[in-house]
Amino acid sequence: MSDGAPGSPSLAAARKGVTREKTSHAPAGRWTLALWHVAILAVVFGVWYALTTPGIVDAAYANRIAFFFGRPLEVIKVVIAWFVSGKIYPHLAITLWETLLAFAIGSVLGLVIGLWLALSPTASAIAEPYITALNAMPRVILAPIFAVWFGLGVLSKVALGVTLVFFIVFFNVYQGVKEVSPVVLANARMLGASRQQLLRSIYLPSATSWVFSSLHTSVGMAFVGAVVGEYLGSAKGVGYLILQAEGVFDINTVIAGIVVLTIFALLLDFAVTKIEARLLVWRPRTAQTESL
């Protein structure tokens, strides 16, 4: 697939591919795996705690390390305080809203323009160098321009997210249309489909299936756009919290913000997986049997 964009959660998929190839190497059981996951987390926290606690490590070193890395218990305290006081919710809501808007607008634009260019060779030939140039450009650098255009509110973050999401969706739709099976297409034509009906019942479903397959990446990118936008200048959002804390060297709050964002991104990814499974029921899955 063409989504080589960063942040695509392909590890699980890649692992599945590996285990399928060598079935003799059965993967560890579910609980063993969970145990490993928890153990690694505990070790990381343990080392982090030990290195930043005076008494375990020499106080001078511990404080210096804590200045750069924060203290785990302080971080957890900040996170709990955020949720208990409810202070985090409006910020999370803004970030989520920006993410969803950027994702929706970017996807629709990518779908429409992708379909148009894929079905019109002339338009695609004319647009090609510009698409390539825009895609090659590091688009995060547009954030200051968007801030000037759209102010420090939600819009500038959405605009940044849209530029990130658009290209992922665009290239997937373009690919999806190009890869429509010629036999399926010929069959629909023989069944009497008009050009418009071909668009609706062949090209669009084929293209959307590619959009869905890049859902993880594009939602992730919308999230990146929102947070980076907030970080570069805003009055609300989790990125703003991090920016504020950084300004006063409150490393614990910075890390707390990162932890919240990570957990939030995981939840978002989980939701996407659920939606994907619902929307792509027609997709063949590689393994159909279930162990009893």
Binding site: A186, R189, L191, P205, S206, V281
Partner: protein, 282 residues
């Protein structure tokens, strides 16, 4: 766009259902100026209600001929007549059953069978009801909501058959439709096809590389030469009694006689095609 052609009651005229008149198909080769002639100067007629099979060595341009009949491919020279009228654009009187899987993977069996009616503007529930009937007729009751990947190869072929027949086309174009099936499923499908065909005699142009299948099903068998520049080199009327059972008819002495006679013509072409394939592989 095809609504009118299908709505009008087919005028059973004296003109053959389908006729190729000196059809030639040439494709641009890999290098500039190079040309590959797939089909050369082919004339062929499918009578009204006739079941005609075309056999030939693999890669001899049989599918090209069928694509021309469907209107998916315009011939380089010559013309195609459908019920006496020259064909331009898609052949709206024909249904096409492809060799490869041609079902829409994102539609259920029911959605696939009703697709053609929906394209013609038939109301969704009416189309669904008729699709259900057709699925029952090809023995797929209970599989309406299955997606193509959940169905077996034989079931997918049945869906494709229902998808084509629900539109009640006058001409059936079939491109080795059962070649991917195992022998038992294949004979079942062939018998089903004969049953459906005999109930309302459509004109059929059936492409296959399997001579036994061709004889068992057809009224007439046409043998094509090895490619390039494929053209008909023999024509045999199959005077076996109908109704036929494709498994049993293979044992009748007349079948064996016909098989021998046609194979005599086909054999040298198959060997030629094999030699060419070997040469181009080297």
């Amino acid at each position: 766009m095809n609504a009118t052609a299908h709505a009008a009651a087919p005028a059973r005229s004296a003109a053959p259902a389908l006729a190729f008149e000196r059809v030639t198909c040439a494709f641009a080769g890999k290098n500039a100026g190079e040309r590959y002639t797939a089909v050369a100067d082919t004339s062929l007629v499918v009578g009204d209600g006739e079941f005609v099979s075309v056999v030939g060595p693999t890669g001899c341009g049989k599918s090209t001929l069928l694509n021309v009949a469907a209107g998916l491919l315009a011939p380089s020279a010559g013309r195609t007549l459908v019920a006496g009228e020259p064909l331009s654009g898609i052949n709206a009187r024909a249904g096409y059953m492809f060799q490869a899987d041609a079902l829409m993977p994102w539609r259920s069996a029911l959605g696939n069978v009703s697709a053609g009616l929906q394209f013609r503007g038939v109301a969704r529930d009416v189309a669904a009801a008729r699709a259900r009937e057709w699925l029952a007729r090809v023995g797929l009751t209970g599989f309406e909501n299955g997606y193509p990947h959940q169905l077996s190869g034989g079931m997918r072929k049945r869906v494709a058959l229902a998808q084509m027949l629900i539109l009640d086309p006058e001409i059936l174009l079939m491109d080795e439709p059962f070649s991917a099936l195992d022998i038992q499923t294949r004979q079942l499908m062939e018998n089903e096809l004969l049953d459906l065909w005999s109930s309302n005699r459509k004109s059929v142009l059936f492409i296959t590389h399997d001579l036994e299948e061709a004889i068992a099903l057809s009224d007439r068998v046409i043998v094509l030469s090895a490619g390039p520049a494929t053209h008909p080199i023999g024509e045999f009327a199959i005077d076996l009694p109908r109704p036929r059972d494709v498994a049993e008819i293979r044992l009748s002495p007349r079948f064996v006689e016909l098989h021998e006679a046609i194979w005599h013509v086909l054999k040298s072409e198959v060997l030629k095609g094999y030699a060419q394939g070997k040469r181009s592989a080297q």
